[in-house]
């Protein structure tokens, strides 16, 4: 089938497909957990089925036969499972995970190149193998219960199955009639359904025919162990009508349609349960105007563009200050004061706008934390280890782009932790630890940064082992005097971890140096700390957003640079005589501690500036626990800047995060504080090499 849908439609497809896959993943994890208890939540099973089903339909529309086929197989498997023809087993869950992984590969591949495909025959074979063992169908066993066909006629095959399951368990089947104002019936219905779910299963929801210009009534089919009066008591006496369709005791006997409530006289009988009442007020009448879906999916490029415009707007407010100056010079004070007032107003609104656009880009870390659940499950299973993942702060929000870029490094760290950090159950028992280890994944916001912590309670890393290995690999000299922190930092040096000693699972030939570089490219920092026998903790510090930043504008050798203000702790004017040299490194004393200095003029190979009467400026910058002083010639003030990427050709320049527009058509370079600190700290460990 040809694909003549537009590129836009394709993008939409990829977006929706990714969303579906993401939730499939999550639901499968939940299903996997319940598989261990031998019971599956029908809502989840059904939702997974619908996910596969939608994906099949969508992929078919775009002519992606491979995705459609795989989704079709999954759907078949899930259909047989939800209809009770295939049993819940570890094998089933694993196969479904396998299928989702293949789907992810395919969808991502198509994102790069529409013609991408890959071999999924193994997955298909696994699915077929499970299906071939299925027990086969039989004729409709519901017939035995003699239920009114008007009830059965509107049930999908799946709902029929659920109905049968309820009846098989000896539950009562009731038909509950509720009515709501048309304006907010979904809310009322959701509340009623929630209440009913506490006593049983809501099998179907059928809107009652009749005039619905103001109120609408529904029949809910409920399977429950409770008696009619017990269910009625939940709602109070006469607000709801319940009718028994099948009573467990009377099951399979007569039609058993026994009416327990007076028949409603017309279709608008008030049957609002008291729970729905509070929702009745606000939306009356106007409700239908906002009937269409409440979310929109937006291409991140569009948000970037919007962000850029907002950024430029922020910058152009500088022009007002200039006009102000001119008015002042002209002595037009009364005009000046109204201009100032208008400017302040504009600034406040702009700030709100900027924050608004920024907020739109923010997504909760849950988006990737949830994926980690699966990684943990998969890797620990493959390694025969027991790992409990504790997630904390998943609602912490970060810029969408950062969250996406964080996925790979995080995944790598977690694989590493399970692979190398966490011991086998036997080893743990021998060490007097609980068999199941705990892996903690926690995020929290600290000012303009988000701190993510990945901590295991495994065997830890012995600093002496790291040191010996680094010496053996020629990364440091045997005589080097290294602090504990220096030693742990060696882990991030290129060449420290190599392909041959990393297992297939965690490795894929990627070392921790790549992880560190990935984090650094997001203007972040990573630190490691460990205690032998107790575990290892990695801490990642990231800026919340990359797009618009407040910057400290500095001058070095006649050139202007911007330093992101969120990493500037303070600025100092120091006497050059205060600079001391310790182990060939320049430092100053700052409140009883030693602050290493970094001369930017030297780093960037600029000729140093003429003397300023023996004084110079220092911008103290810090990320996480580390801090250094950047020596600059002059501080020019604070300003909002919009960071723009330098593009791939210049991206390797150490110490530069990007370019920024100052608003007067002047472009300046933005310093990459994380990178500069790396530079300074690397210098530290090289001191004695």
């Amino acid at each position: 089938m040809s694909t003549d849908y537009s590129a836009q439609a394709l993008k939409e497809f990829l977006g929706e497909a990714e969303e579906i896959i993401e939730s499939l993943n999550l639901e499968l994890v939940t299903l996997g957990d319940s598989a261990e208890k031998g019971d599956a939540d029908p809502d989840i099973v059904n939702s997974i089925f619908r996910g596969a089903h939608s994906l099949k339909g969508l992929a078919g529309m775009f002519g992606f036969q491979d995705i459609a086929d795989l989704a079709h197989h999954m759907e078949n498997l899930l259909d047989n499972f939800r209809l009770g023809k295939v049993a819940l087993s570890d094998r089933l869950i694993e196969t479904l995970f396998e299928a989702i992984e293949a789907l992810t590969r395919l969808v991502h591949g198509k994102g790069e190149d529409e013609t991408f495909t890959c071999d999924v025959s193994t997955v298909l074979a696994h699915i077929d193998a499970i299906l071939s063992g299925d027990t086969g169908g039989s004729e409709n066993p519901l017939a035995a219960y003699r239920i009114d066909p008007s009830i059965l006629n509107v049930l999908t095959e799946y709902e029929e199955h659920r109905l049968l399951e309820n009846l098989k368990k000896g539950r009562n089947l009731y038909r509950v009639r509720v009515a709501f104002d048309l304006a907010n019936f979904d809310q009322g219905l959701a509340e009623t359904t929630d209440v009913l779910k506490q006593v049983g299963e809501v099998i179907s929801t059928l809107p009652c025919a009749g005039d619905i210009s103001e109120r609408i009534a529904f029949f809910l089919l409920l399977g429950t162990d409770q008696s009619l009066s017990e269910v009625r008591d939940i709602f109070g006496n006469d607000e709801i009508q319940i009718e028994a369709i099948v009573q467990a005791a009377a099951a399979k006997s007569s039609a058993a349609v026994e009416k327990h409530d007076p028949e409603p006289e017309d279709d608008t009988v008030d049957a609002t349960p008291r729970l729905a009442e509070e929702g009745n007020v606000a939306t009356q009448g106007e409700g239908s105007l906002r009937s269409i879906s409440r979310t929109v999916r937006v291409d991140i490029d569009k948000l970037d563009e919007l962000m850029n415009i907002v950024g430029e707007l922020v910058l152009s407010k500088g022009a007002f200050a200039e006009v102000g100056e001119r008015l002042k010079a002209l002595g037009r004070d009364e005009v000046l004061s109204s201009l100032l007032k208008a400017t302040r107003d504009l600034e406040r609104r702009l700030e709100e706008l900027q924050k608004g656009v920024m907020d739109v880009r923010m997504v909760p870390l849950a988006q990737i934390f949830d994926k980690m659940l699966r990684i943990v499950r998969q890797v620990s299973k493959a390694q025969g280890k027991k790992v409990i993942l504790d997630i904390d702060g998943a609602d912490t929000e970060l810029d969408k782009l950062i969250v996406e870029d964080l996925s790979d490094p995080l995944q790598h760290i977690i694989r590493n932790a399970i692979d190398h950090g966490i011991e086998s159950p036997d080893e743990r028992k021998a060490a007097g630890k609980p068999e199941a280890s705990r892996l903690r994944l926690a995020a929290s916001q600290k000012g303009n940064h988000v701190v993510i912590e990945i901590a295991d309670d495994g065997r830890g890393i012995d600093p002496e082992v790291i040191r010996r290995k680094a010496v053996k690999k020629g990364l440091v000299s045997a005589k080097a005097e290294l602090t504990r922190d220096d030693i742990y930092d060696l882990v991030f040096m290129p060449g420290f971890s190599t392909r041959d000693e990393v297992s297939e699972l965690s490795g894929r030939g990627v070392g921790m140096d790549v992880v560190k570089n990935n984090i650094a490219s997001m203007s972040g920092m990573i630190e490691i700390d460990s205690e032998v026998g107790r575990g290892t903790r990695l801490t990642i510090t990231l800026p919340i957003t990359l797009a618009i930043i407040k910057a400290l504008i500095v001058q070095i050798a006649g050139k202007t640079y911007a330093v992101p203000i969120n990493s500037v702790l303070e600025t100092l004017m120091i006497d050059k005589s205060a600079i001391r040299t310790i182990e060939r490194k320049e430092v100053i004393e700052l409140r009883q501690s030693t602050l290493p200095l970094l001369r930017l003029a030297e780093i960037f190979g600029l000729s140093s500036q003429q003397d300023r009467g023996g004084r110079c400026f220092v911008a103290v910058v810090g990320l996480a626990e580390k801090r250094i002083g950047l020596v600059v010639d002059d501080l020019l003030g604070q300003q909002d800047v919009v960071i723009k990427s330098l593009g791939s050709t210049l991206s390797f320049v150490e110490g530069i995060a990007g370019a920024a527009d100052l608003g007067n058509q002047k472009t300046i370079l933005v310093l990459d504080v994380g990178g500069l600190m790396n530079e300074a700290l690397r210098g530290e460990s090289n001191v004695n090499v």
Partner: protein, 122 residues
Amino acid sequence: MPQKILIAEDSSTMRSLIVSTISALGEYELIEAANGFEALRILPREKVDLVITDINMPDINGLELISFIKNNPNYKATPLIIISTEGSEKDRDKGLSLGADAYLVKPFNPMELQGLIQRFLG
């Protein structure tokens, strides 16, 4: 006044494909519902001339929507097209016996959908 078509479908991509297919015919007003509930809301407010529905939707399923429409004197005469995925033959048969007027299988052929719409709406 252009004739109105209600599209009940939970997949936004599928909805926009249906919309673009019908838009190619011009002169119809398209009203989208992301689930059965939204469709129920729209029905009494808009005089809908044709309904297109999916079967597998999260809140009320397509069969329930069909049953509601075809048992309601106000909407009964409105032509109704099911668009659902292959493999749900039983559900399709139920839909047709509940009164649906036509059935298309996803991935549907745009020409086929256009043909049906022209047939029902002239």
